[in-house]
């Protein structure tokens, strides 16, 4: 997996990108690596892209409920793919701000 130097990429204290436009696939893989995901599988990408696309088109990250219903990956698998919190981690890898919804 291609990890890169993250200098010049603006991030908040928790590591979320502050400007989604600075994102690319190498950035995604580098952040995934930091979070302990050594390989982004096609299932990971499905979620990361779904999170990112939803945020870019609606201005809001989807809830975990919506993620489980609409992304094509169910809740159980979401937590297998992203054990440290699917919505939060997929948002971070997808280069969008931390989701603020309660669900």
């Amino acid at each position: 997996m291609a990890t890169i130097e993250m200098t010049g990429i603006a991030r908040d204290p928790e590591g979320f990108l502050t400007d989604p436009a600075q994102w690319n696939e190498n950035v995604a893989e580098t952040i995934a690596n930091e979070a302990g995901i050594t390989e982004l599988s096609p299932r990971h990408w499905l979620i990361v892209n779904y999170m990112r696309d939803t945020y870019l088109s609606t201005g809001q990250a989807p809830s975990i409920r919506a993620l489980g219903k609409e992304s094509g990956v169910q809740i159980k698998e979401l937590y297998v793919l992203f054990p440290k919190g699917p919505a939060k981690l997929a948002a971070k890898i997808g280069g969008i701000p931390k989701p603020h919804g309660c669900i």
């Binding site: 489980g68 937590y79 669900i103």
Partner: protein, 174 residues
Amino acid sequence: MTTMTDHDLEQLVTPDAREVPKPIQKVSIVISKGSLEGIYPGLIMANGARMEGMEANVFFTFFGLDAITKKHHDRIKVATVGNPGMHIPTIVGAIPGMSWMATKMMSRKMEKLDIPPIPEFVEMIADSGAGVYGCKATVDMFGLSEDDFVPHVTGVITGGEFYEKAAGGEIVFT
């Protein structure tokens, strides 16, 4: 009179107080009430914990057990009597259909916020890997059996076993 400088004040703070608190790794939540407003907070907290990557357990006891029994889990209602938070006179809250109506209204608002109905929420929490437990004492008291529970229940355990499962984490009673 001498005034204290920032440096002096800094000296007064013990090293312990300056340490950043460790993040919570695990929570075990007790849900003991059977009303809508008694059940949702615990579910939201449990789901929120899993979303943050924390380990989570939910222990349903007394009327909280209604949230995981097939007979009651899809008909949990808001208490419109004895609930000052409703801001309606008790006598109005007691009118037949009032609780049904308040529940309908609240459910609609929650649906808008993407908060699932209780049966779906319990399933979601179980699927997220949280432990979903019923309280043995209550199960015996109400004369319930395994068949009475929704399939997402991890097990029926005693208070002692709950403490074992909660070991090393925070306990939240609701």
